[in-house]
């Protein structure tokens, strides 16, 4: 891979601040317009930190009995939702950390939550169904039973929700209560990512492959050869490249031209253990990757999927989540031992990369 030999940490990631939470941190995200960082741990602890200094603003314990499973921050950043093993969804006020709504779904885990892009709806996966709520916690819509537990959800538009489960991807119009499109394929789909223009839906599969469909043409393709399950998938904001995990190399497929069919992917290799998290910057072609070995790297990607490392750091333990601040000038990573690290991210190139 070009650029590997020449790589030396260029100081792109400047140590900002670090903190610790009590248990395995599983989620993190920026709230209040990037002013604060929210972290959730597996035991159900929630913590809000001031974004620049890292001083703690508030914290809550055991917000879900049995443990926290998911967190989704509302697009405007003032509220967020959490869910857990207790079969409940809570809607919170970010500023004070007060829970304003409680949604009871029943006995079972609530593993997936997503606010719609316009912030009107909250989609919740519960066992084989998906429920859609308004900000006030009232149920707007509910899907029928899927063939298996829903493994991933994503909004393709403000009123269109995609679900993945064993053997199927379905697009629902949650306002008109219709199925807009359905793709079937015998495989256990463990992750899903939609291209920003909504045309491509990519799923990581239990059989160590990535399967994707083009909605406009109904065509599908399969990318095989991964040594492990590609549980991490991320599209850049332009929808040009799809970064995938599934090994200690970040595999990047380019959708430029007629790709990625028949093309070789970019291979970003510097991590020494399996990729555990991926996140694209909010603007431009910057990819942050975290691995089980605790390493965090930031890459500048080209449209063909190749990329060069811009900076690297060590976060100590398995990197469970990474989040770019909305202005992309800061990067946060949480790990399996409850460690939280925030870096200031600075580009030193003479001319800023395109779109950045």
């Amino acid at each position: 891979m070009p650029g590997v030999e020449g790589f030396s940490p260029q100081g792109m990631l400047h140590e900002g601040w670090s903190a610790e939470v009590e248990d395995y941190a599983i989620v993190c995200g920026w709230t209040l317009g990037g002013k604060a960082l929210l972290v959730g741990d597996v035991a159900g602890g929630l913590y809000l930190f001031e974004g620049k200094s890292g001083s703690p603003l508030w914290q809550k314990k055991e917000v879900h009995k049995g443990g926290l499973l998911a967190l989704s921050i509302h697009p405007d950043g003032d509220i967020f939702a959490t869910s857990g093993q207790d079969g409940r969804v809570l809607i919170w006020n970010s500023e004070e950390g007060e829970s304003t709504k409680v949604i009871e779904l029943g006995d079972g885990w609530v593993e997936h939550l997503r606010w719609s892009p316009d912030g009107r709806f909250l989609a919740v996966a519960f066992s084989r169904r998906v429920h859609v709520y308004g900000i006030d916690g009232h149920e707007h819509w509910k899907s029928g039973e899927h063939p298996s537990t829903v493994s991933s959800i994503a909004w393709s538009k403000s009123n269109e929700l995609a679900t993945a489960c064993y053997g199927r991807v379905t697009f629902f119009d949650v306002v008109c209560d219709e199925v807009n499109q359905k793709f079937e394929w015998q495989g256990s789909l463990v992750s899903m990512a939609l291209s920003p223009d909504g045309d491509v839906v990519a799923c990581g599969s239990q059989d160590n492959s990535v399967h994707f469909w083009r909605r406009s043409t109904d065509q599908d393709s399969e990318m095989t050869g991964y040594p492990g399950k590609p549980s991490q998938l991320a599209f850049d904001q332009s929808g040009t490249v799809l970064a995938t995990g599934g090994s200690d190399v970040v595999t990047v497929w380019s959708f430029e031209g007629n790709g990625p069919e028949g093309t070789a992917p970019g291979q970003l290799s510097l991590h020494t253990d399996s990729i555990s998290s991926l996140a694209f910057s909010n603007h431009g072609m910057l990819l942050a990757s975290g691995a089980r070995d605790g390493s965090v790297l930031v890459w500048f990607l080209k449209n063909n999927g190749d990329g060069d490392p811009l900076g690297g750091a060590f976060a100590g333990e398995l990197v469970s989540a990474i989040a770019w601040r909305p202005d992309d000038c800061s990067l946060a990573a949480v790990n399996s031992k409850g460690g939280l690290t925030v870096w200031e991210f600075k580009m030193r190139t003479k001319s800023s990369p395109k779109g950045f």
Partner: protein, 460 residues
């Protein structure tokens, strides 16, 4: 990453009503110092009284390649994937499957999924069998025979509802199906925790440490009776039984302790290998000869034994004494004693009796095949054969266990497989131990002769 011990997982299978939940509650209530997380697929009427219980619907995920061996349990991957983030909360996992669960995908999940394999180790499969109902269930459903076939431990439960006789027959049927499993009897699933947890059953190295030959040898005879007899003439009388003939070998000076019985059995195996001499009723039975008693007529049949010296006689019979009502009586006192009170005082009771695991036609489709050979094996030939066998028959081969002596390898090779998934690794040094091979296959409709023949071709 810090190196942590993998969390052991025990799978509990068995039909609805076999007592899984009772056993589960028993395990959980006992003082064993373990913090157990329970994944429950079967929501029975009996609740589970413990903190960390996760209900999950059974979800069997087949892969697009159609390979049965890649089939895994999605619910377990999902639940265990989350549990592994809470390792400080538990140190053991129990999975209670539904009565209709196919144990294959459950076991395969622990080998096929990297993340699960890195954090958890399959400790063993425990199958509960309802002694009163299993006979019908075995006939009716594939799941129930597969649950028996996959088991490391078979808990024969509800034994209070069945006669000892039926239990013996049932146990021998189960042993035919699965010769690797340990059979434990219980009334209300009250088995000791050690028999079901921490078995390391998938760590063959451990298994072999505890039971150096995990197989009980099969013999061409089912029963041995040892009689202490004076010099004289004796009658061996039999009723007609299920078969028109029955094979027999009589040994002199047969001891009654375990070692002597085993030694007798070994020498009888060789005699049984000779073709049998057909013996009609009224004939005298020769000593140390393989004979076949002709039993076709209706009345009770008598054969005779002539003893020149007092001795311990060992009868090694093809079928059990019970089936043919075998009796040994002293003839010179016969007339006087039968006159007294109808009780036959001349009847000699055996000093000891022993039943053997018999090799016979298997009635069940599911059965075990054991290959035992002395000598070394050519690794290349064996791997070729096993790869071919498992790719062709992997669907029907549920489990494989054994150890092999590779030519040129100073250590014993340990083999372990679930369907087509297969591992072989070197274990301890052979040292002075005679080099030999033991392989057991449990599966459906396996061709024993063909498999033995193919194995023999791999011998050096």
């Amino acid at each position: 990453m810090t190196v942590e011990q993998k969390v052991p997982v025990t799978i509990l299978t068995g039909f609805l009503g076999s007592g899984k939940t009772t056993l589960l509650n028993r395990i959980l209530s006992e003082e064993h110092g373990k913090r157990i997380a329970v994944i429950e697929n079967e929501y029975g009427e009996v609740g589970i009284d413990q903190g960390l219980v996760i209900n999950a619907d059974e979800e069997v995920f087949e892969m697009s390649n159609g390979c049965i061996c890649c089939t895994v349990r999605g619910d377990l991957i999902r639940v265990l994937g989350n549990l592994m983030k809470r390792r400080d909360k538990f140190d053991y996992v129990l999975v209670e499957t539904t009565g209709l669960a196919d144990p294959g995908p459950v076991a395969q999940t622990f080998f096929m999924d990297d993340e699960i394999r890195n954090e958890f180790s399959l400790d063993g499969i425990v199958t509960l069998v309802d002694a009163a109902h299993i006979d019908q269930q075995l006939g009716r459903s594939d799941e129930s025979s597969e649950q028996v076939a996959f088991a490391d431990v078979l808990v024969l439960n509800k034994t209070d509802l069945v006669s000892d006789e039926s239990l013996d027959i049932l146990e021998s049927r189960l042993r035919d199906m699965n010769r690797m499993a340990r059979v434990v009897r219980s009334k209300q699933a009250e088995v000791s925790i050690d028999t079901v947890l921490n078995l390391s059953a998938f760590d063959l190295d451990q298994v072999l440490k505890r039971r150096p030959t995990f197989l009980e040898p099969e013999y061409p005879f089912e029963w041995t009776g040892v009689f202490s007899l004076e010099k004289g003439r004796y009658e061996l009388s039999l009723e007609e039984g299920p078969d028109p003939t029955m094979s027999l070998v009589v040994l002199e000076d047969q001891g009654i302790d375990e070692a002597a019985l085993n030694a007798g059995a070994e020498s009888c195996v060789r005699l049984y290998a000779d073709s049998a001499e057909l013996l009609h009723p009224g004939s005298t039975v020769p000593i140390e000869k393989h004979v076949s008693l002709q039993l076709q007529s209706n009345e009770r049949k008598s054969f005779f034994l002539e003893l020149d010296n007092p001795t311990h006689i060992g009868l090694f019979t093809q079928h059990t004494a019970e089936e043919f009502d075998i009796k040994v009586s002293r003839i010179d006192t016969l007339i006087t004693t039968t006159e007294s009170d109808g009780k036959n005082d001349a009847l000699v009771q055996p000093e000891t009796e022993r039943t053997w695991v018999a090799e016979h036609e298997h009635d069940d489709e599911v059965g075990s095949i054991a290959i035992e050979r002395i000598g070394d094996v050519d690794p290349e030939k064996l791997n070729k054969w096993l790869s071919r066998l498992l790719s062709e028959k992997g669907v029907d081969i549920f489990r494989t266990k054994g150890f092999i002596s590779y030519a040129g390898e100073s250590r014993r090779m340990v083999f372990q497989g679930v369907h087509m998934l297969f591992t072989a690794q070197p274990d301890k040094e052979w040292g002075n131990e005679p080099r030999h091979n033991q392989l057991v296959f449990i599966g459906r409709n396996l061709d024993e002769k063909e498999m033995c023949r193919e194995f023999d071709k791999c011998l050096v």
